[in-house]
């Protein structure tokens, strides 16, 4: 899986491309851990390019969400393919994640974040 990072005002967007399974998800987790240690706490995970996801991939996303919450950050998902969306429904993960249809809509949720600071 390829992960490309895009730094924006108020959030970092990670565009995922390929299979999100055990191997690739640990790579994603390491990358986000690295960003958290640098003080980056707000994330959009763009799943547009994800053509396969299994329970290891889902578990990693839950684990990352918990890590992000621990540092009072936010992580939202966007651009889920229909089948990925169905998996989130079946596994009840749609109750856990904040999911948006597009990156633009997800980005708007960070528009007021800067005002909270201070």
């Amino acid at each position: 899986m390829e992960v490309s990072k895009e730094q924006n005002s108020g959030y970092t967007c990670l565009h995922l491309d390929g299979r999100l399974d055990l191997n690739s998800s640990s790579q994603l987790k390491d990358q986000i851990k690295g960003l958290l240690s640098e003080g980056v706490v707000n994330f959009i995970i763009d799943l547009n390019g994800v053509d396969f996801i299994n329970s290891s991939g889902l578990g990693t996303l839950v684990s990352i969400l918990k890590d992000v919450r621990m540092v009072k950050g936010r992580m939202v998902l966007c651009n889920l393919a229909q089948y990925v969306h169905e998996i989130f429904e079946i596994t009840q993960l749609s109750h856990i994640f904040d999911i948006y249809p597009t990156e633009k809509q997800a980005a708007e949720t960070f528009s007021g974040s800067a005002v909270n600071v201070g």
Partner: protein
């Protein structure tokens, strides 16, 4: 006389029947006839005393169209009954271009009312073919006819009419506003000079018409003069100048507003928000999204009071960017309004900003009478995500409405307060599935000993659903301390619990689980065996192949299919011989899957058996085998 003619004659006679039903049937059947006689008969029906028949005839004539029908109808424009005249006019308009020539003839009718009617209908049709006759009508002795002709020329939009309209503007005082409006509609630059000459006209009606026309024709060159008038203009003129400027600006001429003083610019945008022009409103909303402050936010909130979804969506978008600049204005709405739609719109906007300063005001809505408002309140508080909102969320988690409870529990998970675990656990007992799942999700996010203990206990709950939720939740929590209870759950009587346990163990990837998962490869339920295959591959990668070989003889075809695919993906070389045997399996899907897996393995020993499939009765098998041969031969 032919049968067709006989039937027509019979229907024409039937139209004179005293029985309404008979006439109605005749009218209906005449609609299917072509020809002048049927058309004339339907036109005659306009005088029928029954409204239903008149309407049936009108519909029939609109379908028939044609100049002949239109000519019959124009005769009715001088009918003594106004309802007949109006119906004829409506049908002429709906017939459209076929009506133009007969109506142009009417422009020279001896009856002034017919001439005016004709000009009006021609204006509605807006055909350029009518321009010349309408220009002729500008010389009519009757003022009403001239005004109608002027309007019609404006609606036709042909620049050819401009010189004549300018002449009317100069010479016929009574038609001046109509001429100005027509020039504005045509939008030809040739009329700009005369319009600007009248921009300060002493007559309000003329002045207002000029301002409207300049806006309508996007007269960029008029912008400096319009702006210079703002300081001395009365209120109404000023409003019209604003509308004109916005109309010009929204047509790719935004720059004309940039040198306006800030208060004028804002005033201009506010006026546009209050106006009726949708495009101007949308332009103003987009502009205001870059502004800040109470007055801007108040105006935007007021603009939400519309049923136009485009406007509402645009305003909400603008509010997302501006709302944090006016906490007091928003608080006033949240505390003062009882309009559910407005409140939900504002809550959605706040939830996008997630700004903690709104928390207190939002929390007040937790007692609102409308459950949809309470549900949105819970969601918004979750997005705000501050611990100060927890008490309100707990209260909403006990709401009488299931949607509100579900939303509140999900939000508690986002806020993440371990002290509220007992409320979440109560949510698992909720009668609604959605609420139970929201509670489970929140507990997964919060985690911790108490929650893990609860799910461990739930693995033996009396409800199979609770058992499944517990196994799933333990997997999502993913801590090592849940491994033992999950391993125990592999012996659970419910296969869905066993499957969830296998999936969960795969995610946690604790070595302790490897042997129990291998054991699950022999589970009596195919779904569990399939999950165990995936789990083992997660643990051992391509070394899992040797443990999967026995499953290539699984009694369940879909388990067999799943294993073949899995082996192909991990390229387990030890399985080549077994996969080759499966090329002769009785089941088509197994033969296809085996061919594809062998292609992935790339072992040349498979080429001959794959080639033997060229005569397989199933075309999918032939294609898969041939592709596999191609792939293997190409590989090194």
């Amino acid at each position: 006389m032919s049968t067709h003619d006989e039937l027509l004659q019979s229907l024409l006679e039937q139209l004179t029947s005293e029985d309404v039903f008979e006439r109605e049937q005749a009218c209906l059947q005449l609609r299917d006839f072509d020809g002048d006689e049927a058309g004339a008969a339907l036109v005659a029906c306009f005088e029928d005393p029954d409204l239903g028949i008149r309407e049936l005839a009108a519909e029939g004539l609109i379908e028939m169209k044609g100049e002949a029908v239109a000519s019959f109808l124009t005769v009715l424009l001088s009918h003594e009954d106004i309802s007949v005249r109006n119906l004829a006019a409506e049908v002429l308009f709906k017939i459209g271009t076929d009506s133009v020539a007969p109506l142009c003839v009417c422009l020279t009718d001896s009856d002034k009312d017919v001439r005016k009617f004709a000009a009006d209908i021609l204006g509605q049709i807006g055909s350029k073919d009518a321009v010349k006759p309408l220009l002729g009508a500008l010389g009519d002795e009757n003022a009403n006819v001239v005004c109608s002709a002027v309007e019609a020329l404006g609606l036709a939009g042909d620049p050819e009419a401009v010189p004549a309209l300018i002449k009317i503007l100069d010479e016929r005082e009574y038609a001046r506003p109509e001429a100005i409006e027509a020039l504005g509609r045509i939008g030809d630059e040739a009329s700009l000079e005369v319009l600007l000459k009248n921009i300060q006209h002493e007559d309000d009606v003329v002045r207002f018409a000029v301002l409207d026309a300049l806006g309508r024709m996007n007269a960029v060159d008029a912008a400096p003069q319009l702006k210079s008038m703002l300081d001395s203009a009365d209120e109404t003129t000023k409003d019209l100048i604003f509308f004109a400027l916005i109309r010009i600006a929204r047509s790719d001429n935004r720059a004309i507003l940039e040198d306006l003083p800030e208060h004028r610019f804002r005033e201009c945008l506010f006026k546009s928000l209050e106006g009726d022009d949708k495009h101007c409103k949308l332009f103003a909303i987009r502009e205001l999204s870059h502004w800040k402050g109470s007055s801007v936010v108040e105006k935007l909130i007021a603009a939400l009071d519309t049923d136009d979804e485009d406007i509402r969506a645009s305003v909400k978008q603008a509010l997302k960017l501006t709302v944090f600049s006016a906490f007091d204005a928003v608080a006033d709405v949240l505390s003062g309004s009882n309009d559910s739609r407005l409140l939900i719109d504002i809550l959605e906007t706040i939830s996008y900003t997630g700004n903690v300063r709104f928390a207190k005001d939002v929390a007040r809505l937790s007692v609102h009478e409308d459950p949809e408002v309470r549900e949105e309140t819970a969601r918004t508080l979750g997005r705000i995500g501050d611990h100060t909102v927890i008490k309100t969320l707990v209260k909403l988690a006990g709401d009488e409405n299931g949607h509100v409870r579900s939303s509140a529990l999900k939000s508690i998970g986002w806020v993440g307060d371990e002290r509220e675990v007992e409320h979440l656990i109560r949510g698992l007992d909720d009668p609604y599935q959605d609420v139970q799942e929201a509670a489970m999700g929140a507990m997964v996010l919060i985690g911790g000993k108490r929650i893990i203990e609860q799910f461990k206990t739930d693995l033996n709950h009396t409800s199979p659903r609770r058992q499944r939720l517990a196994a799933m939740a333990l997997g999502w929590i993913g801590e090592n301390e849940v491994v033992d209870p999950l391993i125990s759950a592999l012996n659970h009587p419910e296969w869905e619990v066993r499957r969830s346990a296998v999936e969960a163990l795969a995610r946690i990837a604790n070595e302790k689980a490897i042997e129990p998962v291998k054991y699950a490869l022999n589970d009596e339920e195919p779904q569990v065996r399939k999950a165990a295959v995936d789990a083992l591959i997660s643990f051992e990668g391509n070394s899992a192949g040797e443990h999967l070989i026995p499953l290539l003889d699984d009694e369940d075809v879909w388990v067999k299919f799943h294993v073949i695919n899995a082996i192909g993906q991990i390229r387990a070389a030890a399985t080549v011989e077994k996969l080759t045997d499966l090329l002769c399996d009785e089941n088509d899907v197994v033969r296809v899957a085996a061919a594809k897996a062998l292609a992935n393995l790339g072992d040349r020993r498979a080429i001959a058996p794959l080639k033997a499939l060229s005569t397989d009765p199933n075309s999918d098998v032939v294609t898969a085998a041939s592709e596999a041969v191609r792939v293997i031969e190409r590989s090194k």
